[in-house]
Symmetry: C2
Subunit: 119 residues, 2 copies
DNA sequence: AAATAAAATCAAAAATTTTTGATTTAACGG
DNA sequence: CCGTTAAATCAAAAATTTTTGATTTTATTT
């Protein structure tokens, strides 16, 4: 059992509070930027912003994309935590994860990828 | 020759100033996010931030990557306008395009992908 | 219980991106 | 002019991502 809390973490560039190693930080952002690195997914995000909650079948019509393809892209956005899912019965409703988008993107991208009330 | 400037652009959702169509906006950001969607390139950006100007051979040692591979990744960042190149003799010096990064990313990503003096 | 409907999953094919090692280009110094 | 060095380019191989159509899962309705 530890007797006292060390004041400095010598293993990590002498910062008192342990930061995750750069490597895993890069992994995290790689995943998020990969999710954003696709026109179709940017379009989906943009649509979700305007609707504030949509099910797959609604989106499927808006964006003219087969259901399985849409589910595939939604999963990538979901796994990157850029959107959230709420299931009601047989429907899945998706919404933009505004907090996450705010952490990631500049205010200038507001109009495209954040809910419509913001600008 | 135009007699007067139209007050509204009826072809584009009645906004007076013509915006690029969403499609081409998505294309633009797809390219930038694709450039960011890779651990190695995030690492390169992070290194460039700290150095404020480095040639390929210096980077190649810092990141332990063969020269042709590094050139490939630098080109992707360059084409996305996230970095800039200045050639002196046989050397190419690369720097982060801070303005572009600022337009794209949140202030929270400052420490990782902007020059070191900012936080 | 059977029929229907929404959405997720799966496996194979197609498309795209990345890696690799060799070659080329361009600039410099003797 | 020749040798050297930095960096870009190239083509083929390898790896990863996306598309497609079929199937499965889950919940609802009759």
């Amino acid at each position: 059992m530890e007797k006292f809390i060390p004041l400095t973490d010598l293993t990590n560039n002498s910062k008192a509070i342990k930061e995750p190693p750069l490597q895993s930080t890069f992994e995290k952002y790689e995943k998020k930027f990969k999710a954003l690195a696709d026109q179709k997914r940017l379009h989906i995000l943009n649509l979700l912003c305007q609707q504030d909650s949509s099910c797959v079948c609604d989106l499927s019509e808006l964006i003219d994309m087969p259901q399985s393809k849409l589910s595939y892209h939604l999963k990538i956005l979901l796994d990157a935590n850029l959107i959230q899912k709420e299931t009601k019965g047989t429907w899945s409703y998706y919404t933009v994860n505004t907090e996450e988008i705010n952490h990631l993107l500049s205010p200038e991208l507001c109009c495209l990828f954040r809910p419509s009330n913001c600008c």
